[in-house]
Amino acid sequence: MFSKALFKQSCKANGTMWAIITFMECFMLACVMLISGNGNISTTLTAVGDSMVKEQIDSTIESRELNYYETQLDGMEKFDNEFALKLSEGLTKLDFADPNLQKTIVEIFTNAYSDSVTSLQQYILEKLQRTDPSYTEESVEFLEMFGCVAYAINPPDIDEEDMEGDAMPDLGSIKGMFDEFYTSHEEEIPDAYFNQNELFSAYLTGLDKYFASSERAKFRKDRATNCSAIFLAGNLTEKANMDKILAELEKFDISSERFESYGYDYAHVKDIAESTLVSYLSRLDLEISKLDPEAEDYAAKVAEIKTELAGDISMNFMSSLPADVAAALEELAQLNLYDLVVGSVFFKLAGLLLPIIYMIMASNNLIAGQVDSGSMAYILSSSTKRQSVVFTQATFLVVSLLVMFMCSAITSCVCMAIVGEAVAKISYQSILLFNVGAFLVLFALSGLCFFTSCWFDRSKHSMALGGGLSIFSLVAAMLGLFGSKIMPSIVRLNALNYFNYATIITLFDAISITSGTLTFVWKFVILFVLGLIGYIVGSVRFIKKDLPL
């Protein structure tokens, strides 16, 4: 069955090619393993993760800022209207003969103020409940929304002392409830929300008119512009909230040191918030200026533009990152890049190229090439049986591939020892299984090439079909990689995943090997069987066919 002389001849004929390819393969493998093992890979990974997280935080700050701004503006308008209503209500009942007139006025004012606050609370809660009925007064979201309006209004903290005098207390001089919030961040305390002189003169001309005036509107707008950024920055950098963010990020392996390195301090956050608001407002103005104020649906269109520009602003940053980003981050944190590079990129793709080239050339040389040139005549005329020719050549091909991957296995183990298991994060077992997988892929493809080599008398035909299909498998696997699950979802091209179904290299399940499941075993068996079929059918054909010798 086995012809020693032929085996020797095949060794001599293909030995040099084998040695060159094997050396290059091992060299390439060593480069990949050693270079990607020196730590650069995790730096890259961290950088990718960082920029993703930063971008996400930035965009959250941006949408939050717009949310705050709109909430404040809306809330203040509501508050003003409510206040105007309550105040005029109170003032109509005023009896000018009352000896405690001043005190009553203050009382009316104070009551109107607190009543307005209550209805503002109600208003905001209703607004929230319209998006999700499960919100209550206890909800963090509600407190946040209400807080942002309250901080902008900064109601005066009127106590007994202020009420003692007969005269109406000077609102400008009374401490605001949230003065400390502003001072602690070295911000100017905003002016009192109501100026009593203005109120007084407004009372004479008509409170409604005053609150609906464009001056008042401008006041509210400026107030919201100023306060929303301060509130956002102050709120976000508050320790409790910071802790929440950190706890959230910790899930994705982002430590507090790493988060600190992003530089989200008060000034930075405020900066982002302010610039966002500036660009939002200018764009909003521009878009609104394009509309026809006379049109019937003017208001609806303005609202549409606002939502469009602000995007989805109802989401709460504190409760979670957007789901897809969270998933991407999680994936990134779990991704072992070394694994990916060595297993799925090298052993499954890049590292297959050279052995495939060797295999295509060798399988062609072993049978079809010799039949095509006619040199097979010397072997057969020496009374070597066709069975033993085909058996010996098949043995040579398989053994040469086996030894090639033994060399690559030894190289990979040496490199693992140099890199260290801690850095590489893969076990010796997986790395050896990678080698086995790569060998089995080559075995299956060599079965195909050996078959075409036996089938065709012309080496160009054998090369075209066997070699072409082998290279196709490899290229399909390369394209498929970009659509496969191991690619982080942000760079994955799902359409390319179809290529994975068009190549037998898919049966080399690198993911299963690294994750420790046993799915790869039956896939390996399929590869082996496919290769074996190729060898057997090819051999039978060679034994039976006419040889042009």
Partner: protein, 303 residues
């Protein structure tokens, strides 16, 4: 029983190509030539004999064993020089010969060395850089070195210079004299004419004729061409009682056919003439086959 025999051997490649009903018997110790134009089916016949291709019908037998079924057994006794000289992917001639010796189980290389010397072959040369002639010689050495009883050669002399061709044929004759059976194909008649016992002619896949070279050489009739100095002599000679087969009056030339027994009378007659030259026109194999093919063509035309 013949050593090599084919019975109705047919390999039909379609479109009228292939070989049809080849009946050939080659006896032990015979040297048989096989001529035909390119593409007439010589190589196909040889491949069938060696068992490389499966006949469509009919059989080829060597030593009583059918070639296709027992290819490896029959090849044990055959040294083969393929028509297309392509060597295995080895470095030098020596490497090739050594590897071939291993295949053939030859341990004693002295005969190979002798052949190499006689053929003036430098086997150290790189196989890829060898000239056609060198390759041919190397192939011959490879086929002969195992000293096998049957030698089959497919157009072995193409590419050899005339001197080397002679050496080559000498070696074959020598092998023949040792009692080996030789089957050699060629498209050159001359080289088979002098060496072979019998020559088969194949045309378009059919055996047209098998000529016995001994009978051909020992033909009882010979043809002579005679040119006379004067037109008088020429016309006078035509009246002598010889079979004239061709005349060329403008040159005063006459071609006559005489029996071997008549040769004396011819010379006697010519004493009385002024003869410019006299030459024998040899009856070559080429002419023999051409005559046959012509006759066949005529009969075909008649049909």
């Amino acid at each position: 029983m013949s050593l090599i025999e084919t019975n109705g051997l047919t390999k039909d490649y379609g479109y009228g190509r292939g070989i049809f009903d080849i009946d050939l018997n080659i006896e032990q110790g015979e040297m048989v030539g096989f001529v035909g134009t390119n593409g007439s089916g010589k190589t196909t016949t040889i491949r069938s004999m060696l068992g490389f291709i499966k006949p469509t019908s009919g059989t080829a037998k060597v030593n009583g064993l059918t070639s296709w079924e027992h290819s490896s057994e029959i090849l044990k006794n055959i040294g083969y020089v393929p028509g297309e000289i392509a060597f295995p992917d080895l470095k030098t001639g020596i490497n090739f010969l050594k590897s071939q010796a291993e295949f053939l189980g030859v341990t004693d290389l002295s005969y190979a060395k002798e052949l190499i010397e006689r053929l003036q072959l430098d086997p150290r040369a790189n196989l890829k850089r060898m000239s056609k002639g060198m390759k041919q010689k190397t192939a011959l050495v490879a086929a002969l070195m195992a000293d096998l009883p049957i030698i089959i050669l497919d157009e072995p002399t193409t590419g050899l210079d005339p001197l080397m061709r002679v050496t080559f044929l000498d070696i074959l004759k020598e092998e023949h004299s040792k009692g080996k059976t030789i089957f050699i194909s060629s498209h050159l008649y001359e080289e088979l004419e002098t060496t072979c016992d019998r020559v088969a002619l194949i045309d378009s896949g059919h055996i047209v004729d098998i000529a016995d070279m001994h009978a051909l050489r020992a033909r009882p009739e010979k043809e002579f061409k005679i040119e006379f100095l004067t037109a008088d002599d020429y016309s006078r000679f035509l009246n002598e009682k010889f079979t004239v087969i061709r005349t060329q009056e403008q040159y005063n030339q006459a071609t006559i056919c005489v029996n071997i027994g008549e040769t004396g009378r011819l010379l006697e007659t010519l004493k009385n003439y002024n003869v410019k030259f006299i030459s024998e026109i040899p009856y070559t194999l080429e002419r023999h086959f051409k005559d046959i093919l012509m006759r066949q063509g005529e009969s075909k035309n008649v049909q």
